[in-house]
Amino acid sequence: SQQGEEDPQALSIQEGENATMNCSYKTSINNLQWYRQNSGRGLVHLILIRSNEREKHSGRLRVTLDTSKKSSSLLITASRAADTASYFCATARGGGSEKLVFGKGMKLTVNP
């Protein structure tokens, strides 16, 4: 079953704009990860945030986690055409299981 649910399901922006994607999940987690999937390519890990963290940065990426609301957001600043891809949040519940449960994904289109 899918745990995370990304919102919006699709987003189209212009190059240079910021893109924000949200993820909501249902159960308690150990960490939440964001992945990107380009057309025809496999999944690439972007960033991991642990349940005791509230915010994390990596380059143009900023992720926040609110465990009380069971939600996370991924912000991509100064977007580029190469950021066009599908983005997935995935949760790890912990408790001895490293199993990742992915959301349905969100399609981001960055227009040049």
Binding site: L43, L48, V101, K104
Partner: protein, 116 residues
């Protein structure tokens, strides 16, 4: 370092036929995963190996799917017999959980299966 390798990249078969997929994880990664990704959805875990032992196969349709990782390195996933609803991309991933639990997974390019 070399990434996760998968073959074949594409496979077209008719329903009720058999098919096998191969995965070679990143060297030194003891943990290997097989996922099924149906078009428009996120990946769904089918099976997780730690070395050559199965950690989680709760979502593997065991009446038709099987997987093995005999020497703790390469792995094969088999479907026999295939159904139309098995059409999907099959992704293999590996992780080095010796660095600590809950680390990132590295994915291969996937095998796109079409069942006619």
């Amino acid at each position: 370092e070399a990434g996760v390798a998968q073959s074949p990249r594409y496979k077209i078969i008719e329903k009720r036929q058999s098919v096998a997929f191969w995965c070679n994880p990143i060297s030194g990664h003891a943990t290997l995963y097989w996922y099924q990704q149906i078009l428009g959805q996120g990946p769904k875990l089918l099976i997780q190996f730690q070395n050559n032992g199965v950690v989680d196969d709760s979502q593997l349709p065991k009446d038709r799917f099987s997987a093995e990782r005999l020497k703790g390195v390469d792995s094969t996933l088999k479907i026999q017999p295939a159904k139309l609803e098995d059409s999907a991309v099959y992704l293999c991933a590996s992780a080095n959980l010796n660095r600590g639990p809950y680390n990132e997974q590295f994915f291969g390019p996937g095998t796109r299966l079409t069942v006619l």
